[in-house]
Subunit: 340 residues, 2 copies
Amino acid sequence: MNKNNVNKSVTMRDVADHVGVSVATVSRTLRNPEVVSPAVRDKIAAAIESLGYLPDPAARALASTRSDIIGVILPSVSNNVFADVMDGIYSAVEGTHHSVQLGYSRYAPLSEENLIRVFLRQRPAGLIVAGVDQTEAAQALLREAGCPVVQIMETGSNPYDRMIGFSHYDAARAATAHLIAQGYRRPGFLGARMDPRTQRRLHGFRDELRAHGIEEGKRIQTTTRPSSVTLGSHLLAQLMDLAPETDAIFCINDDLALGAMFEAQRRNLRIPDDLGICGFNDMEMMAAAEPSISSVRTFRREMGEGAVQLILDALSGSAAQEKVVDLGFQIIQRRSTRGR
Amino acid sequence: MNKNNVNKSVTMRDVADHVGVSVATVSRTLRNPEVVSPAVRDKIAAAIESLGYLPDPAARALASTRSDIIGVILPSVSNNVFADVMDGIYSAVEGTHHSVQLGYSRYAPLSEENLIRVFLRQRPAGLIVAGVDQTEAAQALLREAGCPVVQIMETGSNPYDRMIGFSHYDAARAATAHLIAQGYRRPGFLGARMDPRTQRRLHGFRDELRAHGIEEGKRIQTTTRPSSVTLGSHLLAQLMDLAPETDAIFCINDDLALGAMFEAQRRNLRIPDDLGICGFNDMEMMAAAEPSISSVRTFRREMGEGAVQLILDALSGSAAQEKVVDLGFQIIQRRSTRGR
DNA sequence: AGGCGTAATGTAAGCGGTTACATTCGTCAA
DNA sequence: TTGACGAATGTAACCGCTTACATTACGCCT
C-alpha cells in the first residue's frame, strides 16, 4: 500500500550529511546543545529547519531509556470534570517536548491496572492517575514505576509519589455545613455513579449531619448509574416522594443539581425557599442558571496543570518538598441556597 | 502475570529463551500465528503469559513501518461535543491492539498543521481529523499520509481519504425550517466561537430565512468568544435589546440555548409562546430542562466509532466503496418550540 | 619544541522488535 | 534409498536515535 512512500521522511542522518557532521553531533545539539560548538550548532539548526527534520519518537524512546510521553489514566471520557483536567494537562504540556497519552479505565480498577501496565511498558516520562483507589497490583506497579507518578483529584497521607487535589470529604462537609448555616434543617443527598470519590462525599455529608444532630432519614438517594441531568431530575423526584420533608439537597455534581432544579420547578417548589440546592464542582453553567445555583468550586484545570508541573519538576530535579498539594475548594453561594 | 517488575521489563528475548526458540519465532507468533507450528505457538503463549511479557510499542514502531497509534486531532478539549466523539473513538479502539494519540489544535489551523506533521512522523496506523478546513500544507500532508485518514464532523464531496459526519448547513436549515413551521416569523440566531463549522450553520440559517422571504434584521448575534451557558444568556440579552421583535432563536449549540433559556426566564419571556428556542447537538440535558428544549440531534459517538471502524477496515483491506458516510441529523422537537 | 589538558567531534554498540533470506527437517514420489 | 520440496525455524540486517568511549584539534605551560 505504501512501498513508494511519499513522505520519505528526513532522518537525523540526512541532517548530519547535509551539514557534514556525524549523527551523534546532531543528536547532541538536540539533547545537550551546550556541548556543541555554537558554529556547528547553528548550521545544524539551519539544516533541521530547511530540511523539515522531525525526530522519530519511537526511535528516541527505544534508544534512550525514557520516552517523552506523559501517561494519563482517567476513569471517564465524558465526565466534563475530567475535560477540565485534561485542558489543564494539555496546556501545561504545550511548549514542552512531551506528549500526552490518555487512557480511560471506565471506573474499573482492573482495567486501570492493565492500563498502568501498558503505559509503564513505554517507559513514560511520567504518569498521572486519578485518585487513590487502585488495586493492590496497580499500587505496587506505581510505587516502583521508575518515573514520576502524580495522583490527582484527591489528597491523602500516603501518595505513591506525589499528589495534587483536594479533600472530597471536607468539601462535602463544608457544603453541608453551608446548607445548615442557611437554615435548612432536613437536607438530602443526591448521588450518582457512587465511585469511591463520591462515597467520600457521602461520608462527609453524613458526618456533618451527625455533628449537628440531624437525622438523615430517607433523604439519601443514590444510584450507581452514571450521572446526568435527567438522572438529577429522577433522583429529586424519588427523594421528594420518599422524604417530602426535605428542605435542601446536596448533589454530588452540578449535572444532578441542574436536573434537580428543573424537577423542583416542575413541582412548583420555590428555590431557595422550599428547597435549597447545592451542586459540586461549580461548572460554568451554575452561575448562569435561573436561579443561580450554589456549588463547591474545585480547581480542575489547576489540578491538571499542577500535575504536569510536578512531573516536569521531578524530571528536572527541582522537585519541591511537599509530596501532597492541597488545592482546596470554595463554597460558592448563590441564590439557590439563600436560605429561608 | 507474576513478574510485576516493570523496571527490568521482560523482552521478547526472555520469552524466546524461556521456550528455547529464536526471537523471530516469538515475533511471528505475535504477528502471523498461522506460520508457527501449534505446539510451539502454545508454548510461547504460555511463556508470554507467565513472564508477563508486553511488547515495547516503540521498538515495534521502529522496526515495522507502522505504529499502532491512531492519531486524533480535534479543535478543543473542553467542548463536550468532542468528548462524545472521543467516547466513541475509545470504545471502538478498545479490544484492538491500537492505541489513541490525541492532539488539540485549539481551533488554530497552523497548530493543526503542525500536529498533523508531528503525528505523521510516527507513521500512525490512521489519522482522524475534524472537518475540512485545513491549511493548504496540511491538506497536502493528509492526501499523501500513507495511512488511512478520516475526516469527521462533516460531509463533503472531496475527502482526502474518507469522511464521516453530517451537513451542518442542512442541519441548520432544517432547524430553522422547523422554527418557521411552528409559526415563528422573526427567528434570530445566536452563535459563539464562529469557527468554519459554525459559519456553515449560519449560512444554513440565512438561506432558509431567505427561502421564506424573511428579513433577518438585527437578529443575528454572534461572537468569536468560546461558547458557554453564560454567554448564551448574554447573547440573548443583547439580541432582545437590539431586536425586540425576535420570537424564536436558533442557537449553534445547547450551551447557548440553555443560557438563553435562563435569560428568557429572567426577562419573564414565556417559552415557547413569547420565544421559541432550538439548540444544536441535543445533549442529554435538553430533554431534562424545564421547559424541555428542542434541538438538532447529532450522532457524535457514532461518528467516533465509525471513524475508527473506517480506519480498521482500510487497514484490513475490507474498506467499503463509499468515501463519505453521512450520519445525518434529527430535529428533536420539545416544548421550547411548541409554537404559538 | 614537546607534553598535556580540554573542548569538540566521531565511532560504534546497542535499544527491542520485524522480516528477508538461509537453513533444517520430515515427507513422499520415483 | 534418494532427491525434491514445503513447512518450520533460525540468522542477521536493519529501523532512527542515544551515548559511552575513542579520537582529534588546539591552546598553553615549562
